[in-house]
Point group: C2
Chain length 411, copies 2
Amino acid sequence: MERLLIKEISNHEGEKITIKGRIFNIRNLGSISFLIIRDYSGVVQVVASKDAEVNSGDIVLVEGIVKKDERAKGGYEMKAEKIEIITKSKETLPFDLEKDDINLNLNTLLDYRVLSLRHPKVQSIFRLYDLLLKSYDEAMREEGFVEIKTPKILGSASEGGANFFQVDYFDKKAVLAQSPQFYKQIMVGVFDRVFEIGPVFRAEPHFTTRHVNEYISLDAEMGYIDNFYDVAKTLNRVIKKMFSQMGIEDVPEEIPYVKLSEIRKIIKEKYNYDIPEETDIDPRGEELAGQYAKEEFNSDFIFLTHYPIDYRPFYTMSDGKEAMGFDLLYKGLEIATGGQRINEYDELVESMKRKNIEASGMEFYINAFKYAIPPHGGWGMGSERIIKQILGLDNIKEAVLFPRDVKRITP
Amino acid sequence: MERLLIKEISNHEGEKITIKGRIFNIRNLGSISFLIIRDYSGVVQVVASKDAEVNSGDIVLVEGIVKKDERAKGGYEMKAEKIEIITKSKETLPFDLEKDDINLNLNTLLDYRVLSLRHPKVQSIFRLYDLLLKSYDEAMREEGFVEIKTPKILGSASEGGANFFQVDYFDKKAVLAQSPQFYKQIMVGVFDRVFEIGPVFRAEPHFTTRHVNEYISLDAEMGYIDNFYDVAKTLNRVIKKMFSQMGIEDVPEEIPYVKLSEIRKIIKEKYNYDIPEETDIDPRGEELAGQYAKEEFNSDFIFLTHYPIDYRPFYTMSDGKEAMGFDLLYKGLEIATGGQRINEYDELVESMKRKNIEASGMEFYINAFKYAIPPHGGWGMGSERIIKQILGLDNIKEAVLFPRDVKRITP
């Protein structure tokens, strides 16, 4: 008999059907057993005779009759006529997956990722992530962007600094891409508007609730802009569409803009907090900026603009002091960084000089600007941070299937 | 005035409009100049006075009136009233981008990628690639697969052998993922059906027309299969949908299956070619298998099945001699490899022993099978190879924006 998905059961009352799934729990009551069985579509209670030789964790096929039962989850249960073990679990689970909550500390949750991912609550994180990927893809295409895939093994680091991983590439030394920055900018000269969904690698030694060393960046770059607000407005529309697909309708038509220098003052005046002098903004400052956005504009989002150029990479357009760009905060956490880029060759060379950046290995990028690339800008957005914030997760690692941090390259 | 895309021009006959784009060619005729201007949507001829101080390669804004003109490409031209240079090209292009064909040798094409990508013929390769990504995403979702993103920095190599790149990961040595194999199999225990679009890295020293060292793999893994034909049939449906989206309608409902041992005989008998003994099948053999599929079944596709298990990775399900899997050939080139995987812990350990694979670094993967993962299989498909074959490109590197090979990590 053909396998029926558990979510379809309610359409088959009184019929004999076959399901396949994993046993999550067994309760014995006199001569009968209640088996909780899940497949990826849902959960059902199966009533079986007690002599069924099955255990929690086993993968089974169940043939039986669908009965209405108000007391059962989903309103239906199955009376088993045949139970076949498809794949036997060799070991007892080290923790209980059937409780509504999965109360494990983060290390256990990640060390036993293979199992913890099977918990419905953990699964739901990655169902939302699936939807996020789909919604970004669709929103970007609607906005006329062409999808590209650019190399992750590079001849030189794209974001400057020392935060890159080195790769042994045959007889050469290469680095892992910290971003698709160079390539997406070059592609503006080809397709005007491009986007990419792909991994980026940051050798940052931070061990925080907001950082992982490998993440999926949602990138975009667009040509023929007048200024960075064109970029911010496009991102605003894209986010609105994405969040709507994820069931969140309160993204403003116009996310408010506040200059960084202003938000520093506001945070001091309103919340009596001093953002440290030696930084542009710190995590506590971002939280308070988020609180201000909520209180002042009833918005979960806020664009902080005009960062001091010293904190921005060499390709950033500026007026000499402030960057022509933004960070987008969602519920008090930066989820995207964007802005206008330098698109004149001479300016770019000048900016590299000011920042002491060596051209070595990135000549192809610098030279591209000799052949005219229109005024442009774009953004990089952390996909996992969006999920963290939507679901209110304590740590971004919960939003990554198999996260990588300073100490963790396995599972 | 708002920028109009060139493809929209035909709807604005007699109107004054503004376009923005790049000058690809200038012809002077008496007191007037004909400028060929492209944006990402199309191309138009602009008639300007000869004193317009513009050059090929410049990015310009043109304000002018749309005129019908049978002789012009697209049937319309623009009479310029104002031309503004947005971004000036500082150097003359090293080759002509306005000819219909771009006749550069491969090295020049790739060395000057930043410019060669601007040629409409090269652009069209990556427009098709964009469509391919979209169509895979959509087809997989229609088939009930959940999109996942798995790490590219791994603690140990997933495909065995020495063909992996090493990464300095803080104080550890890590490797770049040769495939998402371990992770997608584990995820079958979570979501039944998963797919991934992502880069894979192969340190193969080959320098052929079919290999690059970094490519985008279209992966899938599905649970509760009866045998590898369930996987092959799903891939067949997915390919049919993808190709239909790309305008190719002749993908068979049932791509023919031929065993590898049979195709060797057929190729010997029909084409008098001996596939070398020390290989499963060689490139010439694949070509002839493709020719046979066309002649015998009128199909561009053929599944070659039952490869000797010696040529397959340790996780491959087999009958002890032959692998329960397939290669899918399209026009005589392997574009996908797939099959059923071992899903019983004891069998997996046994297979590793036979192949002398060390468990070190992949314990999390092996141990996952102690906790029951249903019978499953999947495929990995080379996205760039599909494009190469559809367009009949001589070299796969033409189907990669910025390809990586043994000698090339730049641009």
